[in-house]
């Protein structure tokens, strides 16, 4: 049963207690963001999600989007929900006040996003893309374009889309064929076909602002010849009101496994008018601002679904009566014990919980550095924050979505056959979660990004932003009475991460295939160590707060218990990963292509 309640207690723990939200106020432009304000925002977001969005999740999945003559209809209730959503100012909570946004930090926004994903993932996709487009425009577009388009996009009356993929070009964007021809007035005529465009067409907003990758006539071959264009569905007039329809048409939508409430569109551009964003041929640079932000958001989707699945699984595990505890009946008054008494169900629930809370904590750390990147006045501090987010983006995207899917699947498992049928909504989580491992760069591509770009960059400088704090923590807490049992396994796993990193750097330098063959396992290993560090840090906070926690002691006890589970039961996976990485590419690449 979909029973989602926003995990506000844990969110506050991550934000305030673990990452010290009071420090946010020291950042330029965030002086007003007090813990009290943050709590109020989270409470309101929780209300919106539970009252307006979550109730539509299953019905929207059943109904899906429909297409007719270029028009896409979203599921029943979405229009009204969207109106409520933008009326509450939720669309622009993390946007610049200059364009009508609330200017709230990413640290808060990521938690709101998580709630949206848990409550109704498909609904959140359209505003998510608007935000991605906003990121690309605010960092790369001219002031003229920003003034013309951003206010409506921030308000949510206009949405955004990302038009990258074409039939012949997915991961390899160098193959983009869509053309852009310069016009005398400084605009461009865009012609080409795009596919898999989420929210490329919908009936929620009065206009849609497409960001389109295309090639100029004099463009160099490949990825260095791609430019980014802003192409609106309706061309705004001078006074800002909507003008004529542009040459953009949705020619169909895809039938797909999940996220049925979100349209996945085929788009046709026929001499559509557009404007250049950023410099000619530097489209990928602008695109990456958007993609990096999107990748972190997709990671949050994994976490959101994992949380929803966990909550549903817990309810069922306590309700469903089957068999007796292996150590004798725990509820003799009932015909059978609830299945939560069984170690394997416990193992499943503990794993889900440890993944979710670990990811939430790590996501909070990355969100904090996003805020530092945006708001710190010291360039040095900003650079270090940039290093860290660059490093962690592929990890957050791939690890969170891998874990999100695994957790959704575990949730279904707890339900048994009742999870596989539609009624309980558990199979929807599995279906919805699966796409997150694919879009915004498959998880395999994320792993390649980590080993191929992030790891060797500046001779490992990005790595420093993670390795040094973890090393310092281990050195400092190794002999702490409470923490030693947790820090011991963390230290071992960290050692394996160091060895694997050095190994890949050395082998990969001589043979890139060695790095490629180890990439996915390395990302997993890295992610597990990162969660391990988060768990040790969370336990540290819990040990510190528990003695004076009064009524909240159980919360901290649970943290400590889950930390222990993570260190003893989940983190050891690292050893297996390192073993496999060490074995090198030979076994992977040994079989001749023709033998497949």
């Amino acid at each position: 049963m979909q029973v989602y309640t926003p995990p506000l207690r844990d969110m506050r723990f991550v934000l305030h207690e673990l990452h010290g939200s009071d420090e946010l106020q020291n950042l330029d432009g965030l002086e007003e963001v007090t813990p009290d304000l943050i709590d109020a925002v989270l409470d309101e977001a929780a209300k919106l999600v539970t009252e307006v969005l979550a109730p539509l999740n299953q019905s929207a999945d059943l109904e899906g989007c429909t297409y007719e003559n270029g028009v896409v209809r979203t599921p029943k209730g979405f229009k009204e929900a969207y109106a409520t959503f933008i009326e509450g100012g939720w669309n622009g909570i993390a946007c610049d006040p200059k364009y009508g946004g609330q200017g709230l930090p990413a640290s808060v926004n990521k938690l709101v996003e998580e709630m949206l994903c848990s409550g109704n993932l498909a609904f959140g996709i359209c505003p998510g893309l608007t935000h991605g487009a906003y990121e690309a425009l605010i960092h790369h577009a001219s002031d003229e374009l920003k003034d013309r388009f951003l206010p409506n996009m921030v308000a949510g009356t206009w949405s955004g889309s990302m038009c990258l993929t074409e039939p012949q070009c997915g991961t390899d964007l160098g193959l983009v064929r869509t053309k852009a021809v310069p016009q005398a007035d400084g605009s461009y005529k865009i012609t080409g076909n795009k596919i898999f465009i989420s929210a490329g067409e919908q009936d929620l907003t009065e206009n849609i602002i497409h960001l389109v990758l295309a090639r100029l006539p004099d463009a160099p071959k490949g990825i260095k010849g791609i430019s980014l264009f802003l192409v609106p569905k309706f061309l705004p007039k001078e006074d800002g009101t909507l003008g004529p329809r542009n040459g953009v048409l949705c020619t169909g939508i895809e039938h797909k496994m999940g996220i049925h409430g979100s349209s996945t569109c085929q788009m046709s551009f026929e001499e559509a008018t557009g404007w250049l964003v950023g410099e000619p041929h530097k489209g990928m640079r602008a695109m990456f601002s958007m993609m990096n932000s999107e990748r972190l958001s997709v990671g949050t989707q994994g976490l959101g679904l994992g949380e929803a699945a966990y909550q549903a699984a817990v309810v069922y595990a306590k309700e469903r009566l089957q068999g007796r505890s292996l150590t004798g009946a725990k509820h003799p008054d009932k015909p059978a014990d609830p299945i939560i008494v069984h170690p394997d169900v416990r193992r499943t629930l503990m794993t889900m919980r440890a993944y979710n809370e670990g990811c939430r904590a790590l996501g909070g750390w990355v969100a904090r550095t996003l805020d530092i990147m945006e708001h710190a006045t010291d360039p040095e501090e900003r650079r270090r924050a940039e290093d860290f987010t660059a490093l962690m983006t592929p990890i957050v995207k791939a690890l969170f979505t891998d874990m999100g899917f695994a957790t959704a699947s575990m949730g279904m498992q707890v339900y048994g056959g009742h999870g596989y049928i539609r009624d309980h909504g558990m199979e929807q989580y599995v279906r919805d979660a699966r796409i997150a491992m694919i879009y915004e760069g498959t998880n395999g591509v994320q792993a390649l990004d980590l080993v191929g770009r992030k790891l060797p960059a500046h001779m490992g400088r990005y790595l420093r932003s993670f390795f040094h704090p973890v090393l310092a923590f281990i050195d400092a807490k190794m002999d702490d009475d409470n923490l030693a049992p947790l820090v011991g396994p963390l230290g071992k796993a960290f050692g394996a991460l160091q060895l694997a990193t050095a190994h890949i750097a050395e082998k990969g330098l001589k043979d890139p295939e060695e790095a490629g063959a180890a990439a996915t396992e390395y990302l997993r290993l890295f992610g597990l160590v990162a969660l391990g560090y988060m768990w040790a840090r969370m336990a540290e906070v819990a040990f510190e707060k528990r003695p004076t926690a009064n009524g909240d002691a159980a919360f901290y006890d649970a943290k400590i218990a889950t930390a222990r589970f993570y260190m003893e039961k989940l983190l050891p996976e690292v050893a297996a990963l390192w073993g496999s990485i060490k074995a090198g590419k030979a076994a992977t690449m040994g079989l001749e292509e023709a033998m497949f």
């Binding site: 500046h458 001779m459 490992g460 400088r461 040094h468 750097a505």
Partner: protein, 781 residues
């Protein structure tokens, strides 16, 4: 080279003409430790009659790159004038004329020289354009017997080529004496040329430049594109042609061209390359003569207070922003196959073909017209124009037969030598010996002059005794082995340290002595910082510390090994590369060795025993003030500022080299000299005794910190400079030492290690390392 035994030794030299070349030659003779008289005219009404020569010396002292190798050398040059000091010529063994390129002036001077000089002394001209026959015409036979042309290249200290031309009357012994002096004392590679216009290097070099400029105009290439093609792909300096002309001066080109045009017969292909480019004439007229003028094909536009890199558009003659050359033929590893590049259909391919097919053909014409053999031509272009490969080596890369096909297709006459080679290479290795193709079609061994030993020759005929990815060990005969670094830029890493340790064991068992030497352009740039940085970034500090400790141990083992170790650097010997010198029993250094402990520049300190060894050197110098403080202060001064000696001679002043260490002027003679030195040490060899040092401890450290504080206040030291200096001071003053208890080597090494590890854990140091690796420039943080 002439191998006749010289009949006399040159002990004193006169240079007449104190222009750029004359003065530079004089300075370099002084660098060899030889007294030199520098004479020029007396300007009318001059108070100081030596004014011209004196001014030239003053200019030499400020030259960058430095003309003198040491202050000591500068004192060996005596200024004078050709009116008052003619008589002094009788005290000189070699008189070099380097006056203006006018036959009448030169001949008038020769008459005066002839009257004043000691009979049998050598007289030579540094002319680059006038044939020897013209210079000596009408002069007495005695003069003709002692006269030759010695053509130096600019700057004389750094350019290794010396072209020598002897006349039919010239006494072979005189030639031999000058050649031997130029080789051994001046470190030049002597190339014997025939008495033909422009000799070898400038004849071919001018042809090449002229063709490359003309074709760039004709094919409508951007200068950046032309330079990208006429640079790295062919192993030419990356300045290409336009950048090179900017460097030498646009105005110089017409002079050289003019003289070659007048002197070469009408049948010479040179004339076909001459094209009038109105743009170039206009640039020269308006003062755009290159770097020395208002700008050249490239310029730095400083208008509006910014520095804008610009290049000239060859078609319009207007400057525009410099662009990165777009040459698809050179992308993705293209340009390695020269034949393919020269056959590529695009503009870059057509350019490469138009210039290089003809240039290489012209080179082939020069043998035997201007040179006896191809080796002379290749030497001349490598050493006179800094080509990585000589023209015949380039032809071997392309294939002579392939080049012949290209020339035939282009309608260019195929020179006889190319036809002779046909399918055969110009160079080959036969039975471990390098051979070249003679003009008779037979291969001949390349014979090295006596006293020249090259590792590259040894490697052709033997296998390494030991080898790993970073170093090799070679048997160089007579019981001596040579440790060669083979890592990138000869940076020191675990592999080198491991091989050094293994070599020490092997020599102890089976050999007499060890020489550390290699033939890279730099002896060693120091520790492999890239690896260290990566290790630090992932927090693998334990590994880094282990490498520091192993390095220390290997260097100590080397210092106290029961056999002599001689290190023989050339080029840069920095950081760990300097420390290895400091632990050798003796150093035989190439004169152009640039030695220094530069660790502080990247935010660390010398920790492979460098601090300890330097303290030991200064404290054991008997001429230096006694007490615990002077030695640490001196070392602090040198090391905290990352001072690099700009020559081997200067390295002695800084004590990176000992007074007793040897200096070899000729790069090719370095290994033989080092080997001889090692062998000389073998008999009765006793390893050095460890010494204990008396150091000042904390009070000394405070004094050093105060000095740095002063620099910081004046804006001369950064925040991290202070951190680094203070850590260095801690090591050099012996940590918690007091000046009663002596400090052991072991303790000092421990302090080095601790200091190093403390610094390398800081972000500021890691930022410095990253910055130097990525930009090549130090970060002042």
């Amino acid at each position: 080279m002439n191998t006749t035994t010289p009949s006399f030794e040159i002990k004193k030299v006169a240079v007449i003409g104190a222009g750029v070349m004359g003065a530079g030659i004089a300075a370099h003779v002084a660098n060899a430790g030889i007294e030199v008289l520098l004479l020029d005219i007396v300007p009318e009404g001059a108070a100081d009659r030596n004014m011209v020569a004196q001014k030239a010396i003053d200019k030499l002292l400020k030259a960058d790159p430095a003309a003198f190798m040491s202050k000591r050398a500068a004192k060996l040059v005596t200024p004078g004038n050709i009116e008052d000091n003619l008589a002094d010529l009788s005290t000189c063994d070699w008189i070099v004329e380097a006056v203006i390129e006018r036959l009448d002036i030169k001949q008038a001077l020769y008459a005066k020289i002839e009257a004043a000089r000691r009979p049998g002394s050598a007289v030579s001209s540094n002319t680059s354009t006038i044939p020897l026959g013209d210079l000596t015409a009408g002069l007495p036979e005695s003069f003709q017997r002692d006269f030759l042309i010695t053509h130096f290249f600019n700057p004389p200290r750094y350019m290794r080529l010396l072209e020598i031309v002897a006349g039919p009357q010239t006494n072979p012994e005189t030639v031999a004496a000058v050649a031997r002096f130029a080789d051994v004392k001046l470190g030049k590679t002597v190339v014997t040329c025939k008495d033909t216009p422009g000799f070898i290097a400038n004849r071919l070099g001018t042809y090449w430049l002229q063709l490359a400029v003309g074709e760039a105009f004709a094919l409508g290439l951007k200068v950046e594109e032309a330079d990208a093609v006429m640079g790295r792909p062919f192993g030419f300096p990356k300045t290409g042609v336009f950048g090179l002309i900017d460097l030498v001066g646009l105005d110089l080109m017409p002079h050289v061209q003019g003289s070659l045009k007048r002197a070469l017969p009408a049948s010479d292909p040179f004339h076909a390359t001459l094209r009038d480019e109105p743009l170039i004439s206009k640039m020269i007229e308006t003062g755009y003569t290159g770097r020395k003028g208002k700008g050249g094909f490239y310029r730095l536009n400083r208008e509006n207070g910014q520095k804008l890199k610009e290049a000239i558009d060859l078609a319009s003659g207007e400057y525009r922003a410099q662009v990165k050359a777009q040459v698809p033929e050179l992308e993705d590893g293209g340009g390695k196959d020269l034949a393919a590049l020269m056959s590529a259909p695009g503009p870059a391919g057509r350019y490469a073909r138009a210039v290089m097919a003809r240039t290489l053909a012209y080179a082939a014409r020069l043998v035997p017209e201007a040179a006896d053999d191809i080796v002379a031509v290749d030497d001349a272009m490598r050493l006179g124009y800094n080509w990585k490969l000589g023209p015949f080596e380039l032809i071997d890369k392309i294939g002579a037969a392939r080049l012949v096909e290209m020339l035939a297709a282009d309608g260019v006459e195929v020179p006889a030598l190319l036809k002779l080679a046909s399918e055969r290479p110009f160079y080959r290795v036969e039975n471990g010996a390098r051979q070249y193709l003679g003009t008779d079609g037979a291969y001949r061994d390349i014979v090295r002059p006596e006293g020249v030993l090259l590792l590259s020759d040894i490697k052709l005929k033997s296998q390494p005794l030991l080898k790993n990815g970073s170093a090799s060990l070679w048997d160089i005969g007579d019981g001596v082995v040579c440790l060669e670094f083979t890592s990138k830029s000869n940076s020191l890493d675990e592999g080198i340290i491991t091989l050094l340790s293994k070599a020490l064991k092997l020599v102890k068992e089976k050999y007499k002595a060890l020489v550390i030497y290699n033939e890279g352009s730099n002896f060693s740039v120091g520790a492999n910082l890239g690896l260290a940085l990566f290790a630090c970034n992932i927090g693998a500090f334990g590994e880094v510390e282990k490498l520091v400790a192993t390095g220390q141990k290997a260097y100590q083992d080397m210092k106290y090994a029961p056999f002599p170790v001689v290190a023989a650097p050339s080029g840069l010997a920095l950081g760990g590369g300097c420390e290895i010198l400091l632990h050798a029993d003796a150093v035989q250094a190439h004169a152009e060795s640039y030695i220094g402990l530069v660790e502080c520049g990247v935010g660390v300190l010398p920790a492979w025993g460098g601090c300890t060894a330097m303290l030991e050197r200064w404290q054991s110098d008997k001429t230096f003030p006694k007490g615990p403080m002077p030695a640490p202060s001196k070392v602090f001064e040198t090391v905290s500022t990352a001072t690099v000696a700009k020559s081997a001679a200067e390295a002695k002043e800084l004590k990176f080299l000992r007074e007793s260490d040897g200096i070899t002027m000729n790069r090719d003679r370095l290994l033989a000299d080092a080997k001889a030195r090692a062998l000389a040490l073998v008999e009765g060899y006793v390893p050095p005794k460890p010494i204990e040092l008396t150091l000042p401890g904390p009070s000394g450290k405070v004094a050093m910190e105060m000095a740095v504080e002063g620099f910081a206040k004046r804006g001369l030291a950064t925040r991290h400079d202070q951190v680094v200096s203070s850590t260095l001071a801690e090591v050099l003053t012996g940590g918690d030492a007091d000046h009663i208890e002596p400090v052991s080597t072991a303790r000092l090494l421990e302090l080095e290690r601790e200091g190093f590890m403390k610094l390398i854990r800081t972000n500021a140091t890691l930022d410095r390392i990253e910055h130097i690796l990525e930009t090549g420039k130090p970060l002042r943080n």
